[in-house]
């Protein structure tokens, strides 16, 4: 197969989805043309310009770095159609109106190259019907490409082929979306609302149905249908507010209009109260009122009994909470099903009806059960899909219970469970997942792109992944430690170093393990990748720090900090290359390890920062020293050689505990380098890391020298940092203790209280860092901050 290259993308329609899809392409270094109608007056591209301006204000941010906005060019259908010829991929994302889309297709078709791909981001219209609007010559290159909102953050993209879509093109597009945009693909059939929305919207309707039947409050139901059952915090009703009640009603309307034969058709309507809210213009978050509203600081919820809003509570009764926290899923479900409590009955009912719905529709809407489960994880943020939840809770028992409820008229539809349900013990097995169409197990897709995912996200019941070969390990999950291992099928001489601690916090055992593992790697291997699933590392083990502070073991703490610094320096100066593979949070010590590595591969969604100030400390695992060193190198290239201008930004970054909210921002803030790799699909991280380590080893890697003469900003630099601090403290923006901590950060960054432009060895700066760190640890206010963070997970401003 020849190379598949997308040089430029066009997105047609600068609405919420179109503009954000364009932004994500720009994140991925793909230039984009964003089209919309020409403005009636003023600048012709005013509509798109406004959408682009809006993107910069959206939260969470569609752009992984602000400058990406500059790689989207505004265009309009009036004067710029000719530019479509430059585009290899054209994504249509205009309003969900068949006539409008067909009109547009007729207008743009003459300008689309025959080898380009044209895809619609429709969420509900028939892809085959849309294809009719394309000239025959382009139909083979047409398909559905359904992103989820917000497209940068929601992993799922549903790809929907038409009868005519070329198979090769679809494979190429799937591979491109996976590696380049980091999306997770489910191939869907051309049925209304495709997979995720079909099940997800039904699930919302089922929740609404049982809320009303059992007379529960919306806040109460959100308490029950959120994280306690592995779903997002916004649960059901708050999600509806976020999506927009009008949008939700529209999607339900599509189901009503297009699925007349669905056994649940009678339920495809939104409740009267919701219609009334829409009629009143209370559409949810976008109109600041919907099912919930904010009154000052108080969150209020609509109460149907009074027809008015009341303060939202959402507490779950302890008996039900205990049931939901039961570890064994079999026991959990039997407790729910047997309970007389309304809340328990509610939960059993919503699970039952969704299981029922998915079993009946599996063959119509999806290729196999894995696709439904993954679609619900990736598109709706469920921790587990419906089939795996069912299978974990004892397939056959649940099946019997569902059928019993159907027989007694308790389920939402009378249609019986399909026969295959009773012939099986589940849908997911080592050999694959069940397909109701072929009545066989379907293995995972064999596309070469998936070979890059060494540990793909698995559904329950799949064959366990290759754990590789352990070379050495210490400690365990409770006290931490590390594992040094390899994947001989990938590269037997590139070691993989993984932390075993909770959240990959760095404690004594991790440090010991890391030092030993690197020593072994120097002896036996060609390189190391520091990798484990997200988060990369949440920083030092604060429990250990707090305990030692309480016991007054400051000498011991000093030795631990010294060991931390030794670990960082070991990563940096190891005789074999150490590559850190970062995804999720890389904070404090985790960030420092990353900064000290030979090379970094970062998942786009990496959250990197030196956040020590939040707990009243400064970076002392070499983080301050690395920034001082960066300033030294940068100043060498600048006229005059003054280091302070290069300290200033890192001082603010450290003093404000700024966290980079993407890999690209991590580079901008100096936690990573422009030459590092940004990997869009987190599951490809290890694959890339191993190959990067191999490439470094093959190209004759040598660690950098330990610098003997680093030019530091010294006393004038510290005083100039204090200029900012005095003004912030006097202005009441920071507390006196924030001042003290920030001054310590400045002192470390400036290499201590030495004359400006002094030249000091690297170790001197490490010693300054360490002394300041230990001094702060002795302060009562730092100890209070640590205790508060351990207790609440939040920083204390004292």
């Amino acid at each position: 197969m020849s190379n598949f290259i997308i040089r430029k993308v066009a997105v047609l329609g600068a609405g919420v989805m179109g503009a954000q899809i364009a932004a994500h392409c720009a994140n991925a270094d793909v230039p984009v043309l964003l089209f919309d109608l020409p403005a009636k007056d003023g600048k012709p591209n005013a509509i798109v310009d406004k959408a682009l301006a809006g993107l910069k204000k959206l939260d969470p941010a569609p752009f992984a770095a602000k400058d990406r906005a500059g790689f989207i060019d505004a265009a309009n259908y009036g004067s710029d159609l000719e530019k479509l010829r430059e585009c290899d991929l054209i994504i249509e994302a205009i309003a969900e109106k068949m006539e409008w889309k067909l009109d547009l297709y007729a207008k743009v078709a003459p300008f689309i190259r025959l080898d380009a791909i044209f895809a619609s981001n429709t969420s509900g219209l028939s892809i085959n019907a849309l294809a009719e609007g394309m000239p025959a010559a382009l139909r083979g290159r047409f398909c559905g490409i359904h992103f989820f909102n917000p497209p940068r953050y929601m992993s799922l993209v549903e790809l929907i082929p038409t009868r005519d879509t070329e198979a090769t093109m679809l494979d190429q597009l799937e591979s491109w979306l996976t590696t380049r945009l980091g999306k997770s693909i489910v191939r869907a059939k051309d049925t209304p609302n495709f997979v995720a929305n079909r099940v997800g919207v039904f699930s919302i309707l089922a929740v609404m149905h049982h809320t009303a039947r059992l007379g529960l409050g919306f806040d109460e139901v959100d308490g029950l249908t959120g994280p306690l059952i592995g779903r997002p915090k916004s649960a059901t009703y708050r999600t509806a507010d976020v999506v927009g009640l009008d949008t939700l009603a529209h999607v339900v309307g599509t189901m009503q209009a297009t699925l007349p034969d669905d056994p649940w058709h009678a339920h495809f309507k939104v409740p009267d109260w919701l219609q009334e809210l829409i009629a009143k213009g209370a559409l949810g978050q976008k109109t600041r009122a919907g099912i919930y509203r904010k009154d000052g600081r108080q969150i209020q919820v609509l109460d149907l009994k009074t027809g008015d809003y009341r303060p939202s509570a959402g507490d779950v009764i302890p008996a039900v909470e205990t049931m939901l926290k039961t570890k064994d899923p079999v026991e959990r479900f039997s407790l729910l099903a047997a309970s007389e409590l309304l809340e328990a009955q509610f939960l059993w009912s919503i699970f039952r009806d969704v299981f029922h719905y998915c079993a009946v529709h599996l063959g119509d809407i999806a290729d196999n059960a894995r696709d439904i489960d993954l679609a619900m994880r990736w598109g709706f943020g469920w921790a587990q899909g419906p089939f795996e939840t069912w299978q974990a809770a004892d397939w056959s028992e649940i099946a019997k219970a569902i059928q019993l409820d159907i027989d007694h008229g308790r389920a939402m539809a009378k249609v019986p469970l399909p026969a295959w349900v009773f012939e099986r013990k589940g849908v997911h097995e080592a050999g694959g997942s069940y397909s109701a169409t072929t009545k066989a197990l379907k293995p995972r897709p064999a596309l070469p792109v998936y070979k890059r995912q060494l540990y793909p996200e698995q559904v329950l019941g799949e064959a366990s992944a290759d754990r590789g070969e352990t070379l050495w390990e210490n400690g365990n999950v409770s006290d931490g430690g590390v594992r040094l291992w390899t994947r001989p099928d990938q590269d037997a001489r590139i070691g993989i170093l993984s932390f075993k601690s909770k959240q990959h916090a760095i404690g004594d055992e991790v440090l010991d393990g890391l030092l030993e593992a690197v020593a072994r790697a120097e002896r036996d291997l060609d390189g190391v990748v520091l990798w484990h699933p997200a988060p990369f590392a949440v920083g030092a083990n604060l429990h250990q720090v707090a305990a030692a502070c309480q016991a007054g073991q400051f000498d011991m703490l000093e030795r631990t900090v010294a060991k931390f610094q030794r670990a960082s320096m070991t990563l940096k100066h190891a005789q074999v290359p150490v590559v850190t593979a970062i995804q999720g949070m890389a904070l404090g010590g985790g960030c420092e390890f990353a900064m000290h590595s030979a090379h970094r591969v970062l998942a786009l969604e990496s959250y990197v920062g030196l956040v020590e100030a939040g707990v009243g400390l400064i970076p002392a695992g070499g983080g301050s020293k690395e920034f001082a060193l960066q300033a030294h190198y940068a100043a060498q290239k600048a006229a005059g050689g003054d280091v302070f201008p290069y300290i200033q930004n890192s001082f603010q970054t450290i003093a404000m505990a700024t966290v980079a909210k993407s890999a690209l921002e991590a580079v901008q803030l100096g936690f990573a380098k422009p030459s590092d790799d940004v990997v869009f699909h987190p599951q490809e991280l290890l694959y890339v890391g191993i190959r990067r380590a191999r490439a470094l080893a093959e190209s004759g890697y040598r660690p950098p020298f330990v610098q003997r003469a680093v030019t530091v900003a010294g006393r004038n630099g510290i005083a100039t940092c204090e200029l900012l601090l005095v003004n912030m403290a006097e202005g009441g923006f920071i507390s006196p203790y924030d001042y003290k901590v920030a001054k310590a950060a400045a002192t470390a960054l400036c290499g201590g209280e030495v004359e400006t432009n002094s030249r000091v060895p690297e170790q001197w700066i490490l010693d300054v860092e360490r002394a300041l760190f230990v001094d702060l640890l002795k302060q009562e206010k730092t100890q209070q901050r640590i205790a508060h963070t351990l207790e609440t997970g939040k920083p204390l401003r004292n």
């Binding site: 003054d642 302070f644 201008p645 006393r715 004038n716 630099g717 510290i718 005083a719 100039t720 204090e722 200029l723 005095v726 003004n727 006097e730 202005g731 009441g732 923006f733 400006t756």
Partner: protein, 399 residues
């Protein structure tokens, strides 16, 4: 104390329009602006033999980078003045331009010169950081509590003044609104036209086919004043310098680019070159105050200048009081019981902008223009507060 042998007269004064920082003059160099006003002011006295200019004193608050290297000498050479004319750059932050006028007058009054030019130039667009291109503070500032005020940002000092002299947010916003309204009205009435020497900006930009395109734009009006200013909009702005403060971007002076120049002569020179004196330079004073309340500086400087000139406050019909911040302007006006009708009748720095070291020279041009317009005006005054805690005031008498 005063031992003068002759009077010093202002015979001409002009200025560029004042542009917003990174606004219309973002590509204009401060030495070019200076050269422009120097040529313009000399041209106002056609009979003048430029060889006879004793010195060109130029105020600049951040005399470095584009405005470094003794910008006075560079500017006068670029203006085409004879190379026998010397130039000196002086700095007293925000009063540099007025200080230049005072120093030039002093040289004439002492009989050391008969013709002097005083000027000011400042491009805040050229400064990547407001405190200059390289900021480096002395650690000793933080070693003693009484010196910490040196490190206070100007906005923070305005907050301190607002607190100490109890100036409310509402009063500050309303003062800011009036400044904008007065400036807009003055522009609409063409009251600045006589004092402004329009500046032609030539921006070199990438053009078609690899050619550099030069875009010319004649700027003849101050860019800062906002006709759409309203109490409601001003009230929505967040305090910038203190978490629970009252000083906002809307009630502070604007950062700006601009230049001004003033031509001074002795009586003998006036006669020799056929010039028409506009005003007599009466007196000048500066005074120090604590750095943390620098905005109150004029309260000390104004009485000293009036006393030195033997002028009563009530006789001063026009006061250009630099609006560094509404908070300090109001505190000064209240402390000295200045008549709001006589203070900044055409608006002040909140609307018109404040190109630091140039402001004194620019506002001298405004005062001279007012004196030329209004025969009833006898005394006029220019005053401003100064960073790190000073005030300056200069008194002029219409002839």
């Amino acid at each position: 104390m005063s031992r003068q042998i002759q009077e010093a007269y202002i015979v001409a004064a002009t200025r560029t329009p004042v542009a917003k920082r990174n606004g219309l003059f973002r590509s204009v160099r401060p030495d070019d602006m200076l050269a422009h006003v120097l040529s313009a002011v000399v041209a106002k006295v056609p009979g003048l033999d430029a060889q006879e200019i004793g010195d060109v004193i130029v105020g600049c608050a951040m005399p470095e980078a584009e405005q470094g290297m003794n910008v006075a000498r560079i500017g006068l050479l670029l203006a085409g003045l004879p190379d026998s004319v010397p130039g000196i750059t002086i700095n007293r932050f925000c009063s540099s331009g007025l200080q230049a006028v005072a120093d030039a007058a002093a040289r004439i009054r002492l009989g050391e010169a008969d013709v002097m030019i005083a000027a000011g130039t400042e491009s805040m667009s050229a400064m990547p950081q407001i405190m200059g291109n390289k900021v480096s503070l002395n650690p000793a500032i933080f070693a003693k509590q009484e010196n910490v005020g040196i490190a206070f940002g100007m906005g923070l000092t305005a907050e301190k003044v607002a607190q100490q002299w109890k100036v409310s947010r509402e009063d500050q916003d309303s003062f800011a609104l009036h400044s904008n309204q007065r400036a807009c009205a003055a522009i609409a009435a063409g009251l600045f036209r006589n004092e402004i020497s329009p500046y032609t900006v030539r921006a070199h930009v990438p053009g078609e086919g690899g050619a550099v395109r030069v875009i010319e734009r004649v700027v003849d009006t101050d860019e800062g004043p906002r006709a759409d200013a309203s109490l409601e909009a001003l009230g929505k702005l967040k305090p910038v310098f203190a978490a629970r403060g009252s000083v906002t971007a809307g009630n502070s002076s604007q950062m700006s680019d601009g230049a001004g120049a003033v031509l001074l002569m002795s009586e003998a020179a006036v006669k020799r070159y056929g010039a028409t004196p506009i005003a007599r330079f009466v007196s000048y004073a500066v005074a120090g105050v604590p750095p943390q309340v620098m905005g109150i500086g004029p309260v000390e400087a104004i009485p000293r200048a009036l006393k030195a000139g033997g002028v009563a406050l009530g006789e001063v019909g026009w006061i250009e009081l630099n609006e560094a911040f509404a908070a300090q302007s109001l505190a000064v006006m209240r402390q000295l019981s200045l008549d709001p009708a006589r203070v900044n009748p055409l608006g002040g720095a909140i609307a018109l902008g404040h190109p630091l070291g140039a402001t004194g020279a620019i506002r001298t041009a405004t005062l001279m223009n007012a004196m030329q317009r209004d025969a009833n005006l006898r005394y006029g005054m220019i005053s401003m507060c100064i960073g790190t805690g000073m005030g300056a005031a200069g008194v002029f008498e219409r002839l």
